[in-house]
Amino acid sequence: MTRQTQSHGLRAQMVPRWQDLLVTLLILTAGTVIGNIFWQFAFTKANIISVYVLGALLTSLFTKSYFCGVLSSVASVLLFNFFFTEPRLTLHAYEKGYPFTIAIMLIVSIITVTLAIQNIRNIEEKERAALLAKNEQLRADLLRAISHDLRTPLTSISGNAANLLANDDKLEPEARQQIFLDIYDDSIWLINLVENLLSITRIEDGRMNLRLSTELVGEVIEEALRHTNRKSSEHTIRVDLPDELLLARMDARLIVQVLINLVDNAVKYTPAGSAITVSARAVDGFAALSVVDDGPGIAPEIRPHVFEMFYTGEHKVADSRRSLGLGLALCKATVDAHGGTITLTDNPPHGCNFTFTVPLGEVTLHE
């Protein structure tokens, strides 16, 4: 939206678009027709002048263009002179006061147009500034969340490595093994975090900059499952797809990341041996993708908050670093940018059901 109005504003200032010229022409015609009706009823000329000034004002409001506003003002004066001053249907005027009437009409009209357009520009500028601020706020929030999330695993990795460097010979094999495992786990966790950064770099103009293409939902799910947590081997992950091919318009990288986040969460927050189902269905012009688990579930009172930026739920105390808040907030931002929705519901008798939608896509096959 901002981009469009911005470029529109710039272009309108220099060269008017043909649509704007058409609007100008229509309003001038309407003004002249109304003026003619007033003339028939023998209203004073002041009424007709007012109609033309109003016309110039409306032109500038609709076209947001100086050029059209001024064009309308000048044309109004000429039309008024042509149609409504004696002798009619000429650009001459007999009455003494007319040059003044016409000059004042022109000045009033042009000032009105200028003020109106300045006003529009000011409002647009404020909206842009507000959007930019919101954009910066979102980015700042995300970066703050990330740098917080970076510290803990980095401390663990560097500390553990330092320990190995200094005390390698004094450590029991089991202790060493544990340190290796910790380093590995924490670095994997960092890798996942970095993958999420991609979504943030796509934020521009307060929204995500998507690279849309028509993708097969099945392929996207397959790709996401190849990148999920290695602990997922302790869980049963099942894919449930409809028989017909499901095509959707999406930024595949970002939707893969949404699926990875949802599946990794399901793996992280359910006990080993739990079943996770990733499914997709076509629902009312959208592809609905679900990640469903049979774990302990999330309490109803917490559910509305899980997509908030820093929300970490009840796990906050037990495990401060696993701040899921960011992952789910990014999922929501990504799905919103696609024009879809993401919801969390119950999976009876217990468990979570995260479902999100993206618009369906079409393809013309080239045989």
């Binding site: 991609l198 097969l216 392929e219 996207v220 397959e222 790709e223 095509l247 990288r253 896509g361 096959l365």
Partner: protein
């Protein structure tokens, strides 16, 4: 059997160490180069079996290294890139690279890619035969038909064309652009979407478990690859 010789081209010392340690512990022989010119020299003089190439080198762009090697050699090249943008991988693959790995990669992933490439090499040396065999899949190029488990596959002309293209480049990642150019002669957005659909119908006929495909692997945003099956 001769141990394969791997040329590791990487300017970052810790990553180079990681790769050479991995190679050493898994019985590969290796050479190292820390810049593009050195890589080209080694490739020309030591005739390595596989090149592991980092795209971000100090002197030459990795894609340039691929182009130069390709001007005189079919040496398999696995590109290693820290750039997560698909465009870089696609450029490298279209310039002649065989496969790619994105940093951070796991040790298992690196070894898996090497095995895929070795199998491809072995198949290439045996190659030139009018019949292609991979796992349970057989293609008789001369007769123009394909069989799975001895049963003839009923493929549409486009599906057959796709299958042959993937088979002739078995083990290699083919980009969407490459495939659509070969099959339709153009590469517009709609062609890529069509390709996805044809690939899906082909896989339905080919794969016994579509959820975990055995023959054709998808690389989202990049392309497809037929896996060599032992």
């Amino acid at each position: 059997m001769n141990k394969p010789l791997i040329l590791v081209v990487e300017d970052d010392a810790p990553i180079r160490n990681l790769m050479t340690t991995t190679l050493k512990t898994h019985d590969y022989r290796y050479l190292v180069a820390d810049c593009g010119e050195e890589a080209l020299r080694q490739a020309a003089t030591s005739s390595p079996d596989i090149m592991l190439l980092d795209l971000g080198l100090p002197d030459l762009d990795g894609v340039e290294v691929i182009r130069r090697v390709r001007s005189w050699s079919d040496l398999p090249i696995i590109v290693i890139s820290a750039r997560s943008e698909d465009a870089d991988k696609i450029e490298a693959l279209d310039s002649g690279a065989d496969d790619y790995l994105t940093k951070p990669f796991s040790v298992e992933e690196l070894l898996a890619r090497l095995r895929v490439t070795q199998r491809r090499l072995a198949a290439m040396h045996a190659g030139g035969s009018p019949v292609f065999t991979n796992g349970q899949l057989t293609i008789d190029f001369a007769a123009g038909c394909a069989f799975l488990n001895g049963q003839e596959l009923h493929l549409t002309p486009i599906e057959y064309k796709l299958l042959c293209l993937m088979a002739r480049n078995c083990g290699k990642v083919l980009t969407h652009t490459y495939i659509t150019q070969k099959v339709w002669g153009t590469s517009w957005e709609n062609d890529v979407a069509s390709l996805r659909v044809f690939m899906a119908t082909l896989r339905k006929k080919l794969e016994s478990a579509p959820g975990s495909p055995q023959y054709i692997q998808t690389h989202i945003g990049v392309g497809y690859r037929m896996m060599k099956i032992e």
